[in-house]
Amino acid sequence: MNDARRYQMALAALTLATLILFCLSLLVGPAGIGFIDSVSALFSERRDAIALIMQEIRLPRALLGLMVGATLGLSGAVLQGYLRNPLAEPALIGVSASASLGAVLAIYTWLSAVFPPALPLAALAASVVAVLIVQAMAGRRGSVLTLILAGVAVSSFAGAMTSLALNLSSNPFAALEIMFWMLGSLTDRSMTHVWLALPFMLAGWAALLTLGRALDALTLGGDTAASLGVDMRRVQFLAVFGTAASVGAATAVTGAIGFVGLVVPHLLRPLTGGQPSRLLPTSALGGASVVLAADILVRIVAPERDLKLGVLTAIVGAPFFLWLVWRERRKVA
């Protein structure tokens, strides 16, 4: 069958692209280490400079790029499917803004300077609070509209509190650190960050990946999905908590990286025959590819200036999204 074939090709191509970009991410950096040296250093027992760079700097960076990208792509695909709207994105339910607020508070109170893991931990705690509020607001009957409105309210409040922290920050260095952190980056992350984020992401992915068939049924609307045996309350719970756990953890370790969760599912949907269940793995791989590629680009484009990943994804992502919208518009007209 033509459709299934194209999907398998897309899946294979994206897997290959992700693998290649992951390896490239390990090889690109200011230290300029040769290919053979890098690979052998990655697995070496020695504690020389090259081994340190590979194991302590580049490996966590590449791993986080992979994990964060997959998280953004997967949760974007799930939320678009659940809300039946191609404009949905992970930030919609308020988790990203709240995780940012938690991190900002950790910087603002100097907690993160005294105890570095306090930053991601505070971000995670804030995203847990946010998701509990959103889920409680949406209630047991689980109206989609209430969920979105609650998400918007929580996002706005978290954004305002972040601004307040910046506003009241007595120290310009703290303000600068907050600003830089919020731009989103994979630079100078350690394996601690990887181990901190991984359990939350794995739990989130597991929840999100079970939703494929339910999201397929939701193509025909909530009532028809329910009549096909889909438990809509369970779907909402898994979509919200899966997104919260994985995106909360992603934001906690890297800051906000925009547009990936919105553009990637949108871009890959035509390759999946419009079937949300197929979009989940495709979009996860696509998100990983995009974030890894963007993180390689920031190192190549401006090696000295520490260009932030979130800035690049928005600069490239927004015009690209406009182009997608333009193309769709012409198709409709």
């Binding site: 039946r84 609307g221 009532d223 009549s227 096909l228």
Partner: protein, 265 residues
Amino acid sequence: MTLLSVSHLSAALGGRPVLHDISFDVGPGELVGLIGPNGAGKSTLLRALMGLTPASGAIVLDGEDGGDLTATRRALKVAYMAQSRDVAWAMPVEALVALGRLPHLPRLSPMRAADRAAVDAAMRLMDVEAHRDRQATALSGGELARVLAARALAQETPLLLADEPAAGLDPSHQIGLMQVFHSLAQEGRSVVVSTHDLGLAARSCTRLILLDRGRVVADGTPEAVVTANNLKSVYGVEAYFGEVEGRMVVLPLGLSTPSSKEHRA
């Protein structure tokens, strides 16, 4: 024996009572037409039977209490065609019809031979095989309606509830759809369809239930339900009644006189 038993069903939407104390049974072999004016409660009744709208009273589906059924058990007993024909994504017709097999598929299992056969049979019955690879969002309204009907048929349930499935179909496909429902009934299944087409309902259904302002005002054979009196008091219309080849023909002609409308108010 009954496939669907409703007793003392009442429901409210936004605090306003919509259904009042509705009771009826549907047995195998029945093709029941649910008729009534706009706002009579036809869609709410079908939604309440599916557990999509909270309602008081008892609903028994194929021998099991509707309230105790898990979502999947219910989906194996009753298929539902919603009035809305909104399709969110550009999915090929075949994949859309295959959604009807979801309740039959074990977790993580792909479609099996029996599932494919059911999907093919449903597409053949609804005359949409030729559109198999087309995207559902690019179909005409009537084509999409038939694809959605095929989706419900692929579910292969003993009971089918359809909310205005014939709306927007051309005459040949309207008749075709009702013939398919009729043959389902003859296999021993039950079908309940809501419709505004009184002529189609009177011609095709074995039984009609007339709803008005949330109450059952008539329940019986088409001849017993679609009477000049009922049409005047419930719809406020005068109609032509006739008979072709032993089957009833009814055609609304015009609004009835103001005096009968007063009676309605």
